[in-house]
Symmetry: C3
Subunit: 344 residues, 3 copies
Amino acid sequence: MLPTRTLKELAAYLGGTVQGDENLAVNGLAPLENAGPDKITFLANPKYASKVAETGAGAVLMAPGGERYGRNVIEVANPYLGFAKLLTLFYTQPHPPLGVLPGANISGQTTLGENITVYPGACIGSNVTLGDRTVVHPGAVIYEGVSIGADCVIHANAVIRERCRIGNRCIIQPGAVIGSDGFGYAPDGRSYYRIPQIGIVVLEDDVEIGANTCIDRAALEVTLIRRGTKLDNLVQIAHNCQIGEDCMIVSQVGVSGSAKIGNHVTLAGQVGVAGHLTIGDNVMVGAQSGVPGSLAANAGYSGTPAMPHKDWLRAMAVVPRLPEIKKTVSALEKRISELESKLK
Amino acid sequence: MLPTRTLKELAAYLGGTVQGDENLAVNGLAPLENAGPDKITFLANPKYASKVAETGAGAVLMAPGGERYGRNVIEVANPYLGFAKLLTLFYTQPHPPLGVLPGANISGQTTLGENITVYPGACIGSNVTLGDRTVVHPGAVIYEGVSIGADCVIHANAVIRERCRIGNRCIIQPGAVIGSDGFGYAPDGRSYYRIPQIGIVVLEDDVEIGANTCIDRAALEVTLIRRGTKLDNLVQIAHNCQIGEDCMIVSQVGVSGSAKIGNHVTLAGQVGVAGHLTIGDNVMVGAQSGVPGSLAANAGYSGTPAMPHKDWLRAMAVVPRLPEIKKTVSALEKRISELESKLK
Amino acid sequence: MLPTRTLKELAAYLGGTVQGDENLAVNGLAPLENAGPDKITFLANPKYASKVAETGAGAVLMAPGGERYGRNVIEVANPYLGFAKLLTLFYTQPHPPLGVLPGANISGQTTLGENITVYPGACIGSNVTLGDRTVVHPGAVIYEGVSIGADCVIHANAVIRERCRIGNRCIIQPGAVIGSDGFGYAPDGRSYYRIPQIGIVVLEDDVEIGANTCIDRAALEVTLIRRGTKLDNLVQIAHNCQIGEDCMIVSQVGVSGSAKIGNHVTLAGQVGVAGHLTIGDNVMVGAQSGVPGSLAANAGYSGTPAMPHKDWLRAMAVVPRLPEIKKTVSALEKRISELESKLK
């Protein structure tokens, strides 16, 4: 039997208010369409408000002031956030601490926190620090001198190179590479001379890094990802970049060297950002855009080269009609020539 | 000495017909230009039909009805497919079953099929099922509860996360990640709250996944890749996507969350597909296109935003001439103003 | 105390000339703004020439003929290259040879050079050759029959598949995959038949491969990357490609099958190149461009489809004004019709 929670308990956990039977108990979360009486459901999109009347759920999580249709309801200001928190409550558990398992390769002089787990096949170099409750999955490789905070998860086959520093509650998905060499070469006229990349990468607290994403170490100092920023899969962050707090960097984005990105910036999928520029706070850049220069804060941009998003929408609406416009212009030219000859 | 096969044997294997000496034996495959008398060659592109006259090959694989120039020929309906099948016959061998090799890390409670191979450095979690003849290369990591069918190849350093299910005859290239967490966060006004990704990935039979490609697990249910679909390298498939049967997803394509893609769809290199849309059966999308909304079946599309492929070709032909058109329009404006003033 | 070098020693190392006190000793490199008297600084960009007057550095590396402001100077033809070489001199050291460490998995019949290092968790298949001083980091997997030259670094979790050949002084960043199967299938009318990829990848001397980059093995013969070429992270090189010498292939570029790229070519970030084409020597392709056909040597190109770079710049300047042009054309049409009716 699944463990249950009363609506009263759930409302307290979510900071919400019960309307209806606060002693009703549920054992999980389900969509409006197929929830049974032992489940709580949620209304995040007001478009579906009428479905509350028909749901078979025992209770509904919704925004304050909505029509209850006589249901037991927990009202919370942000039902989508409440849904996420109930998912965590009902369906996730902390990783049980297993210690250093046989088959893990750990060098001397590591500093291991309490209640950690290091799986078989993980390799940890010398002078590494692992914070409390951090989990290192099989095949993850942590080079010498790395420090990792508490409550981190380093997934299988992720690589963290020498001396990089990772904050608390960071999650590194499988195959991600933190601290690869920046792509820096000095042309010598004929060929390329490799510029040693002696800097590091710093990830602040609550940063999450997607599968097979790459973050290059700085040439001299630090490639920095600030608190709360999330990177999706297959993202490229080049050397010396600084990415602000609470940014969302979607899959396959590439950011060139020494770019400075503000806080709360969203770069949609496959965006490319040139180097040595600044992107202001709260900027949103549309998918596949190419950003060749700095972007002012608090605005949306799209296109290659990027322009204000609305301008881009209007321009793109014309593109399929270009052949027709070209034809029209040619016809007009002819008609004007005729008029001109008549008036000569 | 290489093992040989008679034309009769090869024709039986390919479902073709011999014209000429069916007892002639060959020991391999070579191009028209440099094949010797102990080799069979092939004519896949009719453009090169006259080369059949000059080839030194002992025999030619070609479509029925072509000019034989007196050669020994195996006629098959699809000579390119025949070429691929002969490559398999002459140059590949099943992997010898080696069992679980020393240095492999296998948890308890795994169910291992017959004639499997698990290499040193591979890590297999608890409650994993491996089908008959499946090969797991070094450094591959299979989390707990995964099931993998028969005749699969899991290449080095690939990662398959918890509870994902993989069909028969699947090939996972090195470094691919199956079942990483979907990129789902609920904004809480200031920062982002992680939405637990409790679903899985299912790959049906005959699916192949390219090197360093990433397929995210669903938030709640299943990210699904149907039978026979092939993904190239560095592809991103976001959470909750459904990809149909026999699709070709070329390198560096990104598909956003909850997209539904039909059967026999081709997405060329670097295409980006937005989330929560539908792409119909037999659609082809040209390289680097961006697909912002649903696409009707049985058609080709290109561009960002994507439009019918022919419209895109015509529009792109105009783009380099835009400066000239702009100039012409300005000149026309002036000429009209002059005409207008004359007629006032 | 840091080891020091006199300006005389440094000038000899760099092939430069001292102006001032050749016996002055420095112990490292620092930027113009914050270098102290025990450091050498450098002036690479003439824009900052006046800063030489104010720097606290003990000496300055600069181009011949610049204003010394009374400083001790080493003159070199290429100060940026000199900077890179001094970084190497002061801040890098050869990897100490550690041998085959416990926890490394090495099959029989490998040929190991002198002074190599193989870390725990690395897996090396049978019949592999490793050159002198080569380092294989944890989790790197080298399949059977691979040969790797001298002075190479194979970083953690990189994968080199069977029979590929790697030259001297190559660096493979973490997670890179060399020799994955090419994406080749023969349609059989309903589904796809896998074409065995029996070729290999060859990397010549001084090639460097970025993190999580993928290079597919050839179908029949060789995918070739020539001497001195550098690939950034997350690049895709498809089967049968040939990339020339001293090319720079920036992050997230994708090159399709059988493309032939000349020497000294630069492909900027996220460029896509179609298959079966030729790109001439010294070509530069701008970021995010799509190259559908062959490109002549010694020129720059941009856009999708790619056109001469200057044409692209001019065309893109018009794009945001398309809605206005469309409106103008409609207005002109109207005005002409009026003129025409007046003149009827």
